[in-house]
Subunit: 469 residues, 2 copies
């Protein structure tokens, strides 16, 4: 499934030589390494880069960008490779910048509750480094993604309903722009009105406007008390209505996750859990002991009012860990429902008042399609995923799955939602941008891309199609 | 103090005629109306626009922008005129778009906790419209600013420590771009990764990238319980250290405001309060009755530990209103300390750990300068203001005040902070942008401005200097 042209093309010899001289073994054109960097967790065909380079500093990245710009060679930043939308695929060839060796936590400033990290630091690594500080980094997209990648895709995940997304939790960035200039955005102040918000412009730009080489991110105090619970429901609708009531009451729940019955059954098989195979909500509450009790009491009442079948607590840390590990493995558990399959994952997010309607319509679509497609989501934000299981070698089936995905997205847009709550646009969602934002907004995005990257060298072919594309 | 050239220049006759025909009395070149729109709350010389137009719809704004673009005539959006940085001054001439007649609350969606408003709606008007809904709009910059203006300057104010700034509370915007195209950004979903964050790019762009004609903003549940308190301290440092301890403990305080002794004395005189004339913190706690009590108990202990002299509660709504009305009148109370003066207002914001150092150094600078300059601030965010009282007709004094302001900003930048936490750049902070963000970041901002407004027609001369400036 390799896209032939870029994979087989050689880099300009002079560039190849200078990078080899400068970076030694940290620069490679080995087929194995390139192949490893030519795919992610998406169903898109592999597209390996022409070379892979492991930078150690912002200045090195700037030098590589300038040298590549001389030859018109694209650059593709690479974090942990967990993207679901083809972000890291080198569809125009070019050099992959793998940030796994830029993985230092540079400064923990507990007194300001912020931390400076290199982009290759993963969320688990960061939280390990914070051990004993009384602080944690809450953003949790499931996968152990890198912070650079999470910022680039505006990631969020299970805790976003309480702690926000990467948009809300990055204070500042260092980025290398397409001309090789190094830009520092934001400051360590908690708020600022000093000029255009370059930080937020780079967050979610998926490496197409600048390459993130350093991040300052917010931390949060570890909650004094944490409590988790699961509750089964007679049907998805009752579960969703419990979520809506919880959010509308303003309960500051830390996590509130929906799994449909098929997902729960996949989880039981994959993670050896014994959950009741019914639509289910996973909850987590953070706060003072009294606060957690207060929140949990309200939610338990709401669940009961909406037909919740039971409310099982997991208060011990190891029970909680097991529960959330099972939740995080949903993607792989789902793939396991159909061995050899890949997932085409929808990521719609709608206003909470439309969530029940959106989920119900999506379920109807899935039923009509004949696909196996578990539903799971961060429903407190109105965000849910449909993992459509496809045979990656069957183009006709992929086409049918994409048609299903299209219907799911169209419904979400009609309900005032977005085509992607947290996965990003990459290659898979470009054709929805105009439907979601309108042609004028897409044109404004393209003007920004052309202004900041006039030769289309930074992760070309992602987010906003170039005019010639 | 009027800048002569633009004020006296006539608009191209054909443009004048077409706008008069189309808009009738909603378009005026009357000297009085122009003069009213030629100044704000800043100390900058008046600069009236060549005409003032009161649009009623987004489409009207688009038409005016297209017609003005034909003639190269600038456009300056105008909300409530409460800017402190000269944002509304027509320093290159042009037409002022006064949004006071676009002041409808278009849709209150209590079930999603969001609201759609026209840009001329003020924060007090919005909260009045929300009466009985159980929801409120928390952003409170003191002045009864318009939501369009607040979005344009990325405003915040007293509640930001708990509820965030306009950056965090705007879900989507409609804006007219420099070519007259209408762009809709964001969606009603709570989060999205769908493309570049045009919403956040427009927020804080001060009318220089697009003219905001509609906003969808987040609402929050009215807290079940609210409690306010004031506490006097032996010195500013003790008060600031109490704030730092509160934030570092993660207490979700809703407001935490510092007034120095001079400010308290100004407030007593202006608002007829009888506060102890010592450095003082104003607190507000939001939550469940138990939650508020818990928060207040922690903060009271912290205040006591840092030498707090007393802790006076204002639990009755009318007491609270009186207290916060006095807080909001600090700017005018301060001007009253020197009749006939104007304020040059610093707006620095630093990491909380550096706040004590920043305030202490600022106080030393003020003492050395001989100026009357009360200090007041949203210290929970690390943000505080110094209101330097100047004789607006004494250029030498203004120069000395600006030198003082410069020293205050330089210190804040050296401590990792920003030159403006919430007032915006306007005309007054442009020369600090490079020092804060670096030349490369300012260049990126200018590239964006040039891409989106190639003829420099949208609020020219604000935020980022044009190359020829």
């Amino acid at each position: 499934m390799t896209q032939q042209a870029p994979a087989n093309a050689a880099l300009p010899e002079a560039l190849d030589t200078v990078l080899q001289t400068k970076f030694g073994s940290r620069y490679t054109t080995s087929g194995g390494v390139r192949a490893h960097h030519g795919h992610d967790e998406s169903h898109f065909p592999d597209a390996p880069p022409q070379a892979v380079l492991f930078p150690h500093t912002t200045e090195e990245v700037a030098e590589v960008v300038m040298r590549c710009a001389q030859y018109g060679v694209p650059l593709i930043p690479y974090g942990a490779g967990t993207s679901l939308e083809g972000h890291v695929l080198a569809i125009r060839g070019g050099i992959c910048l793998d940030f796994s060796e830029m993985n230092k936590v540079l400064a923990i400033r507990a007194e300001d509750m912020d931390v400076v990290v290199q982009p290759g630091v993963t969320r688990k690594q960061l939280n390990a480094a914070l051990h004993g500080s009384g602080l944690f980094f809450p953003i949790d997209p499931g996968a152990d993604a890198s912070l650079g990648g999470m910022a680039a895709t505006r990631a969020s995940g299970t805790n976003a309903v309480r702690y926000g997304t990467m948009r809300d939790n990055v204070l500042g960035l260092t980025a290398v722009m397409a001309d090789g200039s190094i830009v520092r955005t934001g400051s360590r102040a908690r708020k600022s009105s000093a000029g255009y918000d370059l930080t937020r412009l780079l967050i979610g730009s998926e490496g197409t406007l600048g390459i993130i080489t350093e991040l300052t991110v917010r931390l949060h105090p570890l909650p004094e008390a944490v409590s988790s619970a699961v509750c089964a429901f007679p049907d998805v609708d009752s579960a969703v209505r419990t979520v809506i009531a919880t959010i509308q009451l303003g309960v500051p729940v830390a996590r509130i996750e929906l799994l449909d019955a098929l997902t729960v059954s996949a989880v039981n098989r994959y993670s050896k859990t014994t959950l009741r195979e019914a639509p289910m909500l996973f909850f987590e509450f953070h706060g003072s002991p009294a606060g957690v009790e207060e929140q949990a009491g309200i939610v338990q009442t709401l669940a009961h009012d909406h037909g919740g079948l039971d409310f099982e607590w997991a208060s011990r840390p190891e029970e909680r860990s097991r529960l959330w590990a099972a939740r995080h493995d949903v993607y792989f558990a789902s793939l396991n429902l159909r061995p050899g399959s890949r997932g085409i994952t929808s990521d719609v997010c709608v206003p909470i008042s439309r969530l029940a309607e959106c989920v119900a319509g999506t379920r109807d679509d899935i039923a009509a399609s004949g696909f196996i497609a578990p539903i799971v989501g961060h429903v407190g934000d109105g965000n849910f995923h449909t993992i459509i299981l496809v045979d990656p070698d069957d183009p006709a089936e992929i086409e049918r799955a994409e048609a299903l995905n299209h219907r799911i997205v169209e419904r979400a847009l009609a309900l005032g939602g977005t085509c992607t709550g947290e996965h990003g646009v990459g290659m898979g969602k470009q054709h929805f941008l105009a439907a979601e934002h309108g042609e004028n907004a897409v044109r404004a995005m393209r003007l920004i891309k052309q202004a900041l990257d006039p030769h289309n060298l930074l992760n070309p072919g992602k987010v906003v199609p170039w005019p010639a594309d």
